[in-house]
Structure formats: structure tokens, C-alpha cells
Amino acid sequence: MSAAPNLGQAINGGCDDRPIAIEVQHIVKRYGDFEAVKDVNFCVHDGEIFGLLGPNGAGKSTLIRMMTTLIPVTAGKAIVGGHNVAKEPDEVRRMIGVIPQALTSDQDLTVGENLLIYAKLYGVPRGIREKSIADVLEAVDLTKWRDAQTKTLSGGMRRRLEIARGLVHNPKIFFLDEPTTGLDPVSRIAVWEMLNNLKTTRHLTMLITTHYMDEADKLCDRIAIVDHGKLVALGTPVELKNSVAGANVVEVHFDRETEEWQGRLEALEGVTSVQPESSGFYRVITKSGSKTTMQIVELAASLGESLTSLSVQNTTLDDVFIHYTGRQLRDEQVKPVFTMPPRPGAQP
């Protein structure tokens, strides 16, 4: 699939005949002259895990905050669970669970107390409160930690508690803002498995923002890539990978750098783009990894040059991300906000 159809899909938001849980229509967020979100459209279907990918400052968190009623919408409309976030915010709040980026559970309270307070805040009836708490603790595998003080939990366990907190009122739609940031690889995988289980057992619709491409690839049914406040691509992980011209990436490191390498590599058959990474090191996007590899070896031999390394990879979401956003890292363009330093002894 070429890039054009996906961009088209991004513009109409990928809405189809399936039941819709979240519908975002021409949504805009302005801070003074700065437009953080620019005319974004997309639909999230019932029961799917939808990922929002984008570099720092792209507008992901702003989007999620508008959909969760945390910040007002400047223009456009967001319908969550059939309710307009601007006109029926309380209805929306009753339907959603939200896991913010930071770990915000009370460290001085126990796991059970944290859930009890939120069950009351969400208006869970007294008669089913205990059962709801027991159920979510079971779902996130924290039952035996119910009476432990939150400050004694590891980072992964605290994230699970946050997930339990967002589920205590049995929401239909679940928003997770970078749910695995700061977790070790084992904890990240545990959270992914938990989210997949929750999706199935609780029939949840999830909207996730993440920086991790592997996370988006494994977890999300569909992914929207956001950059500079705009939706630049939308589709399933496979569709997005196919949308990038060239199916393989060849990484080649020549022993000696010359000015001619880029031009010679671009001239090879099937090569769609060449990205210089460092001295003598190039990422070559090609339609056929094996053919291009052979050609590079022959080219080097014919010129009497030697190779330090040569590897072939399938296209990953990283490639898709770089293709649509242009670079992997970007300085954040957000207003300065004071962040509390962690408490002494607190888990990262």
C-alpha cells in the first residue's frame, strides 16, 4: 500500500460502519497563538486498542486530555461513548477510566484505600464497592498486596495499581497515557499481557499513547501517528508498515567514508531512499533486501572498498515513524511546568 491512501484515511479518521466508541471530528486546541492540535479526525471502534504515536510535543497528551475532559476543546468535537466531551463532561467521566502519565496513587495510603477512595469518587454503589475492588485487584494480580502501603510497591506494581484504579468503576472506555514509561522490560511485557486480558475479559475499548514502537506494534489494533498536532497516518500496524515505500532496511557501514556513497547507493535497483547516519554508515530503504545486499557487496568489491558491517531488517514501526515524522527525537515544545522531584525512597 502506498503512502497516499493512508494519508487519505488519516484525513477522514478511519471511520467505517463498525460501532464507534470514540469519534474525534475536526478537533483543535490552541494556547494563544500556538496551535497544539490542528483539525484532527479519527474514530476508535468498540473493543479495539487504538494507539496514538508521535514524537515529544506532537500533541498526543493534549488530544487525550481533551477526550478525557481535562482541558477544554478550542474547536471541533469529541464524542466519547456517545457523549460530547464539551456538553456532557460528567456523562463522559462516568464512562471512562484514565491512567495518567505520572504515577499519582497516594503513597501514604494502602492499595485497598487508594481503590476505595476512587470507587467513592466514581460513585460506585456501596453494595458492590467491595466486590469491584476485589475484582480489579484480581485482574491486575495485586490481591495479596491490598493492605500494603503504596510506597512499598515497585514501579511495575504501582502502574498495575493505577490500572486497577482506572477500572474500579467498570468503565467502557479506557485511556492510557504512556502506560509503560519508566518500567523495566519484564514489567512492560506484564502490563501488555494484562491490558490484552482486560480488553478481552472486560470488553474494553482502549486508547493508548506511547513512545514505544514495539508496544504499539504488539498491543494496538490500529495506530494513528501524530506530528506537529496533525494526524499524519492511520491504520493497522501492517498497513502502516506497508505504506512506507520499500519493504526492507539495509544497514551498511563502509570502512571508509567518501562523498560518493550516497549517490551510488541511491542508484542501486529497488532502493527508494538512503539515510546517512554517521561517517560511512547508511540506512538504505529498499524493495528487496536480499538483492540490494548483493549489489552493495558487489559495489564495494568493484571499488576495492571493504565493509565493516551489513545487515538486513524488515520494515518496523520505527521506520514508519521516522518516515512520517522525519526524525526520531525532538525537543519538546511545551510550556515549562514544575515537576515534583520523587520522594526519597520512592520507586522510579
Binding site: 482541558i71 477544554p72 497516594d106 477512595i117 467513592k120 469518587l121 484504579r165 515534583m340
Partner: protein, 370 residues
């Protein structure tokens, strides 16, 4: 309403779970009561006064006997004999001794001939408290020396008879009302100011904002919790401070009830004021920076340590709108004067209205969104 109770429950659980906050909100006022109460309330004793006697006559001996009486009884000072007046002055200047009395030549003769006898007194007036105390003691001594040996049968001089309405109030007792008000202020400053902004910065409020809690439930939940914490601090210090200062009246049921009402009204007022000041603040450094400034701005113009009538007009104007003024006036009326409801009704009314007014202003300023 249940959501408001959830906020109060969360705040109170945190309050009782965090001994640091409780201890710190009680420690400072107690330490202030003990240290300032004893430091400022005590009498000056054990100073050293040089005596340079150029006369050596019977009237000079009478002066020295009076000095000995002071040294033995009220112990304000003991005397040290100096032969050299210049050396005595120098030693006062360098702080080796606290004052010097010069008995000039011909002092006894001048006393007997009623020829303007004088005693010299050199004091270090850079130390206001010590010099004032020594001057007072010396003036009493001179007055006693001037008393006629044989008094008239009918007293011709005008005398002032002082009637003290209340039992003796030492400085510890005098400071107790300020201490109770200070405990409440520290509680709202830490519990309602610093922790409130810290929670905001940590994203705890973001968690509240995605629940269906209303703005009013959130504002009232936070403020009621803050007022309960301040009330608990005020009551604790009221009882502990009364025991330290030796004020048993606090255990009288009616006084207890009056204290409770005043502490509740004061807590609402202090908490409302703090909420209004912090309602749009996001930076956790702000309440920490404001802590000392507010303490000086509110405590000293209130008449806690010095009477407000001695202040310049602009400070008196500050004291009129300062909730500390009314809290401290009320506590003094109850604890030191047993003035009853009549004495505190205006304080109660002001504090309650002040608390409600600040909340009414702060509520529309409170943002239900980030």
C-alpha cells in the same frame, strides 16, 4: 456529597498516616511558646554593677547596704568594688560589667545639708532590656532613700491604687493565644498550602478531575479537610499549651466549648484565606516561599506580641482585616479574661464571615480543568 466525603477521607487518612506533618504543625508553636515565653517573660537577674565610692561616708554606706539587699533578695545585680571611675566606665563599654554606680565626693555632706546630692549611674543602653531593668531598680532604690525617716501622720502625697482585674498573667500565658492561632496557621499552610500544591504538581488532582466529582464537591472537600486538620492542631495546642503555661481554665466545659467554636471559626477563616491564595498556584515553591512572609504579615500586626494601639496607622489598618487579630483577641478573651460569649461574639462573627467570603471568591477561581 459522597464524593466530597471521599476527598475528606483521603485527606484525613493521609494526615494521620504522616506523623511528620502532625509533629511539625505542633512542634513550632510549642517551641515558640516555651522559648519565647521563657526568654521574654523572665526577670533580669545576676547582672554585675561596679560601685566607685569616692565618698566613704555614712550615706554612701546606706547606698551600699541597699545594694546588698537587692543582691540578696531580688538578685537583679551584685556589686563589684572599683577604685577607678575611668576603669569602671571602660568595663561597662566592653561588657565586662553591666553598669556602674558613682558615689561622688561629699555625697554624704550634701545629703545632710540638702544640697542636691547626686549618684552617678553609667549604663550600657545598647541593651534595652537590661538597662531598663537596672534603671528601674536604681530608681526604686533612690525613691526609698528619699523617703523621709519619720513620715507625716496623714499622708499628703497622691497615691495610685492599682486594681488588677485578672490573676497575674505571665508571658507564657500571654503568648498562649498566639501559639494556638499559630498552630492553626501552620496546619493550613502545610496541609492546605504546601501539600495541596504538591498534590497538584504530582498529578493527584488530575486523577480527581477525570472522575465525575463536581467543582463544589472538590472545593468543599478540600476546604473542610483543611479546616478539620487546623481544628485538630488548634485543639491539641490549646490543651498542651495550657498545661505548659499553667492555665487550668481550658478544662472548664464552657471555656472548652467557646475555645472549640473559636478554633473552628478560625480554622475556616485561615483555610479559606490559604485556599484563595493558592487556588491558581501550580509551582510548589510558591507556598514555601510565602510561608515566612505571610507569617510576618499576619502574626505581628495582629497584636499577638504587642498591642495594636502602639502600631502606626498603616499597620493598624492591616490588623483590621487580619484574621489573626480576631483569633488572638478571642483566645485572650477566653483564656486570660474568661470574657464569655459576649467578649468573643464579634471575633466569631468576623472569622466565620471571613472564611465564607474567601471561599466564595476562591470557588469561581478554582479550575475544574487543567
Amino acid at each position: 456529597m459522597n464524593r466530597m466525603y471521599a476527598i475528606i477521607e483521603r485527606e484525613m487518612r493521609k494526615f494521620f498516616r504522616s506523623p511528620t506533618l502532625m509533629i511539625m504543625s505542633l512542634m513550632l508553636p510549642i517551641l515558640q511558646l516555651i522559648i519565647i515565653g521563657n526568654a521574654f517573660g523572665g526577670k533580669i537577674v545576676g547582672t554585675h554593677v561596679a560601685v566607685v565610692d569616692h565618698d566613704h561616708g555614712p550615706q554612701a554606706l546606706k547606698v551600699r547596704e541597699a545594694f546588698d539587699a537587692i543582691a540578696v533578695n531580688i538578685k537583679t545585680f551584685t556589686t563589684v568594688d572599683y577604685g577607678n571611675e575611668v576603669q569602671a566606665r571602660e568595663d561597662v563599654r566592653t561588657g565586662k560589667i553591666d553598669a556602674a554606680v558613682i558615689i561622688p565626693e561629699q555625697y554624704s555632706r550634701r545629703v545632710y545639708t540638702d544640697n542636691a546630692p547626686k549618684l552617678g549611674f553609667v549604663v550600657d543602653n545598647s541593651d534595652l532590656f537590661t538597662s531598663a531593668s537596672l534603671e528601674g531598680e536604681m530608681q526604686s532604690l533612690v525613691d526609698a532613700l528619699n523617703d523621709p525617716t519619720v513620715k507625716d501622720r496623714l499622708d499628703k502625697a497622691i497615691a495610685l491604687e492599682i486594681v488588677e482585674l485578672y490573676p497575674y498573667v505571665n508571658y507564657l500565658k500571654y503568648l498562649l493565644p498566639m501559639t494556638v492561632a499559630l498552630a492553626m496557621y501552620i496546619s493550613v499552610m502545610i496541609g492546605g498550602g504546601m501539600l495541596y500544591i504538591d498534590d497538584k504538581a504530582r498529578g493527584v488532582h488530575e486523577g480527581y478531575l477525570v472522575t465525575p466529582i463536581t467543582k463544589l464537591e472538590l472545593v468543599f472537600g478540600l476546604n473542610i479537610a483543611g479546616a478539620i486538620k487546623a481544628t485538630l492542631s488548634g485543639l491539641s495546642i490549646g490543651i498542651i499549651g495550657s498545661l505548659i503555661a499553667g492555665l487550668g481554665v481550658v478544662f472548664h466545659p464552657m471555656i472548652m466549648l467557646q475555645m472549640f467554636c473559636l478554633i473552628v471559626a478560625g480554622s475556616i477563616a485561615f483555610n479559606g484565606m490559604m485556599f484563595l491564595l493558592m487556588v491558581r498556584v501550580d509551582d510548589p515553591l510558591v507556598p514555601r516561599a510565602m510561608f515566612g512572609v505571610l507569617n510576618v504579615l499576619l502574626l505581628y500586626p495582629s497584636g499577638a506580641m504587642y498591642p495594636t494601639v502602639s502600631f502606626p496607622k498603616w499597620m493598624q489598618a492591616m490588623s483590621v482585616i487580619d484574621p489573626f487579630t480576631y483569633a488572638i483577641h478571642g483566645f485572650k478573651s477566653i483564656l486570660l479574661k474568661d470574657g464569655g460569649w459576649i467578649a468573643i461574639r464579634f471575633d466569631l462573627a468576623f472569622l466565620t464571615i471571613f472564611g465564607i467570603a474567601t471561599l466564595l471568591i476562591a470557588t469561581p477561581l478554582f479550575k475544574r480543568t487543567l
